[in-house]
């Protein structure tokens, strides 16, 4: 993946509006967070291959981390802390946030075809 460039990401996001797409959203602090720090909680959420349609998509942020919000007819999807992105096989848009050690903290991915399951 490479560092997010807002204009390029916005351009790709716009390609997915007003059509049925598959979305992958996750955030995690790992399965060992409370193992290494007994005051911490393990927190995560994961949605893979939700079929949605959004009519508006926007990337916001500056510097080292970005937010992306997708507006649907009956709700919203957003992710924050995104740092990197790549177009996988030209059709799958992958965005992720990595910490300083390169570990994934958050991901938002959009594709017209399902992600492998």
């Amino acid at each position: 993946m490479k560092s997010i460039e807002m204009e390029k990401v916005q351009e790709q996001l716009d390609r997915f509006t007003n059509k049925a797409v598959y979305v992958h959203v996750e955030t995690t602090n790992g399965a060992y967070a409370s193992h290494f720090d007994d005051k911490a909680y393990n927190v995560g959420a994961y949605v893979r291959n939700a079929e949605v349609t959004f009519h508006q998509a926007k990337i916001v942020g500056s510097g080292n981390a970005y937010r992306v919000g997708l507006k649907m007819e009956k709700g919203w999807i957003y992710a924050e802390g995104l740092t990197d992105w790549v177009m996988q096989e030209e059709s799958k848009m992958l965005m992720a946030g990595h910490d300083r050690e390169g570990r994934l903290m958050v991901a938002l991915q959009i594709s017209e075809t399902p992600f492998s399951y």
């Binding site: 993946m1 992958h24 996750e26 995690t28 790992g30 399965a31 060992y32 193992h35 007994d38 994961y46 990197d84 790549v86 996988q88 799958k92 992958l94 992720a96 990595h98 050690e101 390169g102 570990r103 994934l104 903290m105 991901a107 991915q109 992600f115 492998s116 399951y117």
Partner: protein
């Protein structure tokens, strides 16, 4: 001497971090070892350092790393096809039936798995529970011994002293070789210990302390 050893863990790299020294010792004795690996670690957070994997490429990368590690350890591997972080939501009896069928085919004298629920990661606990259920479903006269591995911070307080304490320091080079096959994961987990050969004395001692012993409890099926 063992006839055949089956290792049952959920993730590519569990075998290397958890039992590579024990495995190497068995292989040195000529004992066949088979790893039943539950998932491909699809949900791993570590993407290499610097990152070279992403959520979509990680499964194939970790599959190759698993094959490399199993080659380094000279063991057979079967991939069970579950999905990382979801094993506890699966039907445990189905997993146990699948494991039992595989064990009846391989006929091991010893099974190594995680000690539920003292193994921290939900997949470790769920896979360990399914493995123990699989063995418990077997007729007592053909049941392999089970060595269960606990890794919580408090397992000694909770469970007492482990029954099997393997000093695997003579096999630490082999263990490091196996761990480092998991390129996408090793540096994130080990930090500076990855450059094992060039470590200074302090760090080498730290590595030996952290990785030089593999401990197990013998599961009591009468309880």
């Amino acid at each position: 001497m063992e006839k055949h050893v089956v290792v049952i863990y959920p993730h590519p790299d569990d075998e290397s971090f958890g039992a590579a020294g024990t495995i190497a010792k068995f292989r040195e004795q000529g004992v066949p070892v088979t790893y039943l690996c539950g998932t491909l670690g699809e949900m791993g957070r570590n993407m290499g350092s610097p990152t070279f994997a992403n959520r979509e490429t990680l499964p194939e990368i970790r599959k190759q790393e698993l094959l490399n590690a199993c080659k380094a350890l000279d063991i057979q591997v079967q991939m069970l096809g579950y999905r990382d972080k979801t094993i506890e939501y699966e039907n445990r009896s189905q997993i146990a039936d699948d494991l039992k069928a595989r064990l009846e085919e391989i006929k091991p004298s010893l099974v190594i798995t995680h000690y539920p629920p003292h193994a921290v990661h939900p997949d470790h606990n769920a896979m360990g529970a399914a493995a123990i259920e699989a063995v418990s479903l077997m007729e007592p006269e053909v049941r392999p011994t089970v060595w269960a591995q606990a890794i919580t911070n408090t397992y000694v307080e909770d469970l007492g002293k482990p029954h099997v304490i393997n000093d695997i320091r003579p096999y630490l080079d082999k263990k490091m070789e196996a761990i480092l096959c998991h390129t996408s994961q090793a540096s994130g987990i080990l930090g500076q210990l990855t450059d094992y050969e060039n470590l200074d004395k302090d760090l080498k001692e730290k590595a030996e302390k952290r990785l030089g012993y593999e401990q197990f409890y013998i599961w009591d099926f009468e309880k």
